[in-house]
Amino acid sequence: MAVQPAKKQRFNALALFRNALSYHQNWEQQWRSPAPLDAYDVIIVGGGGHGLATAYYLAKEHGITNIAVLEKGWIGGGNTGRNTTIVRSNYLWDESAAMYEHAMKLWEGLTQELNYNVMFSQRGVLNLAHNMTDVRDTQRRVNANRLNGIDSIYLDAKGVKKVVPGIDLRGGGRYPVLGASYQPRGGTARHDAVAWGYARKCDEMGVHIIQNCKVTGFDIEGGVVKGVQTTKGRIGAKKVGLVPAGHSSVLASMAGFRLPVESHPLQALVSEPIKPTIHNVVMSNAVHAYISQSDKGELVIGAGVDQYISYGQRGSQHLAEETLVAICELFPQYKRMKMLRQWGGIVDVCPDASPILTSTPVGNMYLNCGWGTGGFKATPGSGHAFAAHIAKGEPTALTAPFALSRFETGFLIDEHGAAAVAH
């Protein structure tokens, strides 16, 4: 049975008006929920942003539409729907700059491309420097960024104050602000909308989005993958792309290989909603705090990773507390704010804080994982690059540096400095 494409209505002002007349009861379904077929050309395991983007670009750029995206829960329910939505591309090394800037360029046209408002807001991102080592590292990174054509500016303390009036440059005496890197094109996006927008376009092109379908094993014959075992039965596949984030080691072990990653909880929290007070994203690597304000008015705050391995999707209280101490020292005006919600995700962290996009020891099985604490920003670029890797069956210029083999050759891509959460 062939996979059926289905043209979607376009979202625009006219559609909004028309649907208002029927009290918004008749909007068409965004994506269907088909029963799985016996086999697909490509199965993507993991319906987060990266998995859905991979399926989308496979269909759009490589003409492969006989695809299923298998998600054990609901799409975007993993880290895609749990992150603090910061998007930037000011990473230190050439390989990462290429990947994240590729993503940034796709972000800039994503709402139009998907006909779905991903609320990409280029409000500017600052990474603070609190001591002379920070200052030198930041300036070095800014210079490296500029050589790679990325809009990166070094601000001194006065410059920071101009862009972020609410900040206390003394940092309460504890965290003095000496400067910052500033990327004006950086910002935030609506995380759920990214998953939904890709899913909707995938469905339009005939890709099957199959939720509540957990992959429990692989059929591997002669070292080549032939299909996956799932809670909805066996499904055959010519190629399999694994995009499972925090569960990458679990899935790799089912396929018979190990990974150089550890899964840790990373948490975030939001405050009660207030008037617009902070107009950009402010991050501080040294004090483990990052903050922005959502369109609803909530302060969106990210804390650090727990030091131990956990699949519990819950961060510890003392980490949130440490982060809030730092936030209050940097922004004394927030001292009396109440926090509304706190949650955690499981991030698979690589020793060099860079992702893994690779072929695997199993034939026709490909892996995209290890994005750790900072992969939301890469979603479109990662999906685009990984789709090309899967379609060709071999590394591309963008994915090659991120192969597993780097841990043997020693060509690590150390982004601990730019990754903004120490792990």
Partner: protein
């Protein structure tokens, strides 16, 4: 915050006194009878079992006696099942709620 019993200090202390030191009982390649090549070395330095379930871990009582010891911990619930001194046999075996135990540490072709 976890409460961890240091088997040397014989006291339950808050997690902030400790640092996580990754997978326990990980033999160096030569101890496992493997040739010391790039492949085995990468496995030893970087690769982790990263178990979902009951795992053997090393911890360091960094803010106390500064000794390394081992912990049996459930990585889903974070329950600490046992702690024991370095060199001792784990009192509880590892187990997984999902994923497979792989017998080898140093094999596997490269991707």
């Amino acid at each position: 915050m976890l409460l961890i019993r240091c088997p040397y200090c014989e006291q339950e202390r808050p997690e902030v006194e400790f640092s996580f030191a990754h997978q326990a009982h990980k033999p160096r390649p030569e101890e496992a009878g493997e040739p010391l090549d790039d492949h085995a070395w990468a496995r030893w330095v970087y690769y982790q079992k990263n178990i979902k379930g009951v795992a053997h871990e090393r911890w360091n009582h960094a803010g106390g006696c500064r000794k390394f010891f081992n912990v049996v911990r459930d990585t889903v619930t974070s329950e600490i099942i046992a702690t024991y001194r370095s060199g001792e046999t784990p009192p509880v075996e590892e187990s997984r709620v999902e994923g497979e135990a792989l017998s080898f540490d140093y094999e596997q072709a490269e991707g």
